[in-house]
Amino acid sequence: MTDQPTPSFEAAFASLQQIITQLENTELPLEEALKLYEEGKRLSDICSQLLETAQLRVETLSSTSANTDGEPA
C-alpha cells in the first residue's frame, strides 16, 4: 500500500467493520470487492500489530490542588 500514516486501532477497526459490511453486499463489482478485501487485510494486519505492541499510555494532568494526597500508598 501507499505511505499512509498508521491509523489508530479504533479508526482501523471501524474501517475494517465497514469493509465487511460492504463486502457482504453482493452487488459490488469484483474489482472493487478485491480492492476492499486487500484494504481489509491491510487494516486487519495493522490492528493486530497495534494490539500486540500496545502499551498503556499514562499522562498526568498538573494537579490543581497541592500534592497532599493523604491516602497511604
Binding site: 489508530s8 486501532f9 479504533e10 477497526f13 475494517l16 467493520q17 469493509i19 465487511i20 463486502l23 457482504e24 453482493t26 459490488l28 469484483l30 470487492a33 478485491l34 478485501y37 481489509g40 487485510k41 486487519s44 490492528c47 493486530s48 497495534l50 494490539l51 500496545a54 502499551q55 498503556l56 499510555r57 499514562v58 499522562e59 498526568t60 494532568l61 494537579s63 490543581t64 490542588s65 497541592a66 500534592n67 497532599t68 494526597d69 493523604g70 491516602e71 497511604p72 500508598a73
Partner: protein, 410 residues
C-alpha cells in the same frame, strides 16, 4: 437485701464478696446503667488470644475499664486502637475478681460516626429528591474506551490497581490521571477541580473516580454534595470505585455506574479487552475471506452461464448454421439442375429424332440427290432451270460431286 442486726453500736461487718455482690446487683438493676452510651478515648487497648477486647475509656478527668466479648466484636466496623475517640454502648457491672466497675461493651463506633451517618442519610435523601440519582440520568458506559480519565490520588494503591487492570485488559487505551487528594478537608474541592481539568479533554470517553479502602472518615469526601454535582456535570460517563465492597458513598449513587473497588471500576471500564479484540479480528478476517470467496463463486457461476449463452449466440455458430443451409441449398440447386438437364436431354433426343426423320439426308441415303447451280447455289428442281454446259453440284448422301450438263436441254 442486707439485714441490719442489733445492737447498732456495734458496726456491721460484711465480707468482700457480700459487699461486692451487693454493688453488682445495684449496678445491674439500674435503669440507666444497664443500657448506656459513653464517649471517651481508648487507652490500654489489648486483644489477647481469647479474642475479647480489653481497654480503658478515658477523658481528661476520669477513666472507665471496658471489656468487649469476642462474640460482639464482629459488629465492629473499625479497628479500635489507642487514642481513638469512640462511643461505646453496653451495661455497667462489677467485676469482683478484678475489683473493678466496668462497662461490658456490645457496640462501639468512632466518635462522630453516628452523626456522620445521619448527615449521609440526610444528604442522600435530599439529592435523591433533587433527582440526582435518577436511573434515567445514568449514561451507558462505552464498550471500547480509547481515553480514560482517572481521578484519584497519585500515590494511592487505587491508582496502581487501576493501571495494572487496564494494562492487563486493554493496553490500547490512553489514561489521563487527574491527581487529587482523596481524603481530608481539601479532597472534595480537589475532586471537583479534577473533573473540571478533565473537561478540557474533548476526546475523553470515560472517567473513573476511585479511592482505596479506609475508614468512614477517610471516605467522607466522597459523600460531599459538590462531588455528586461534579459527577453529574461530567461530560462523559463516570464509574465510581470507592473503598471496599460494603462501602456505599454519595459518589456511588451519583455515578453512572458503581464499582465495588477501584480494580472492579477498571474492569467495568473495559468491557471489551484486547483478547476479545484479537478474537474478533480473527473472526473478521475469516468473514472477509468467506465473503470474497462466495462472491467469486457466484461470479464464476454467472460467468459460466454467460459463456453458455454467448456460445449459443456466437457468430461461429451462425456461420455453421449458414454453411449448412448453404450446403443444402447447393444440393437442391444441383438436384434441380440435373433434373432440368435430364428433362431437356429427353426433349432434345426426341427433337433430334424428329429432325432426323425430316432430314433431306435421309432421302439422299435412299438414293435421291440434290442438284444445285455451281455458281448461284440455286436448287435445281426443274428442267427449265438448266442449260447445256451448265456447271452444277450434285449432293449425294456421302458428299458432293461437280458435273456439267451435256445432254439435251429444253
Amino acid at each position: 437485701m442486707l439485714e441490719f442486726d442489733f445492737p447498732p453500736l456495734q458496726p456491721m461487718v460484711f465480707t468482700v464478696t457480700t459487699l461486692t455482690n451487693y454493688l453488682r446487683e445495684l449496678l445491674e438493676t439500674d435503669e440507666i446503667l444497664r443500657d448506656v452510651w459513653v464517649r471517651g478515648e481508648i487507652s490500654n487497648f489489648s486483644q489477647p488470644r481469647s479474642g475479647h477486647l480489653y481497654f480503658t475509656l478515658k477523658d481528661n478527668d476520669a477513666q472507665l475499664r471496658c471489656v468487649m466479648w469476642k462474640g460482639q466484636t464482629f459488629r465492629l466496623r473499625f479497628n479500635p486502637k489507642d487514642g481513638q475517640s469512640v462511643e461505646a454502648h453496653g451495661a455497667m457491672s462489677f467485676y469482683p475478681a478484678g475489683g473493678q466497675v466496668q462497662l461490658y461493651v456490645d457496640e462501639m463506633q468512632p466518635v462522630g460516626e453516628g452523626q456522620l451517618y445521619q448527615e449521609f442519610l440526610r444528604l442522600k435523601a435530599r439529592l435523591e429528591a433533587e433527582g440526582l440519582f435518577a436511573p434515567e440520568l445514568k449514561r451507558p458506559i462505552p464498550q471500547f474506551p480509547r481515553h480514560i480519565g482517572v481521578i484519584t490520588s497519585a500515590s494511592g494503591a487505587a491508582l496502581q490497581d487501576i493501571l495494572n487492570t487496564l494494562r492487563r485488559r486493554l493496553p490500547l487505551a490512553r489514561v489521563t490521571l487527574a491527581p487529587t487528594a482523596v481524603q481530608g478537608a481539601e479532597a472534595p474541592g480537589g475532586i471537583v477541580g479534577a473533573f473540571q481539568s478533565l473537561k478540557t479533554l474533548p476526546d475523553l470517553d470515560l472517567i473513573i473516580l476511585a479511592r482505596g479502602g479506609g475508614s468512614i472518615e477517610d471516605l467522607w469526601p466522597f459523600n460531599d454534595e459538590a462531588v455528586a454535582y461534579a459527577i453529574r456535570a461530567s461530560h462523559v460517563p463516570v464509574i465510581s470505585g470507592v473503598g471496599h465492597e460494603t462501602d456505599f458513598t454519595i459518589a456511588d449513587f451519583a455515578a453512572d455506574l458503581r464499582a465495588p473497588t477501584p480494580t472492579a471500576a477498571a474492569e467495568l471500564a473495559t468491557p471489551i479487552t484486547s483478547s476479545d479484540l484479537r478474537a474478533e479480528l480473527i473472526a473478521t478476517n475469516q468473514l472477509m475471506a468467506t465473503s470474497l470467496k462466495s462472491k467469486l463463486t457466484s461470479l464464476r457461476q454467472d460467468l459460466l452461464l454467460a459463456e453458455n449463452r454467448l456460445q449459443r449466440h456466437s457468430p461461429a455458430q451462425r456461420v455453421r448454421t449458414f454453411l449448412q443451409f448453404q450446403d443444402e441449398t447447393r444440393e437442391r440447386l444441383e438436384r434441380a439442375m440435373s433434373h432440368y438437364l435430364a428433362q431437356h436431354q429427353l426433349k432434345l433426343q426426341s427433337q433430334v429424332a424428329r429432325l432426323e426423320s425430316v432430314s433431306p439426308m435421309a432421302v439422299l441415303r435412299r438414293g435421291f440427290a440434290i442438284v444445285t447451280d455451281a455458281q448461284t447455289h440455286q436448287l435445281i428442281s426443274r428442267r427449265n432451270q438448266t442449260s447445256p454446259n451448265q456447271s452444277i453440284q450434285i449432293q449425294l448422301s456421302d458428299g458432293k460431286i461437280a458435273a456439267t450438263i451435256s445432254g439435251d436441254t429444253p
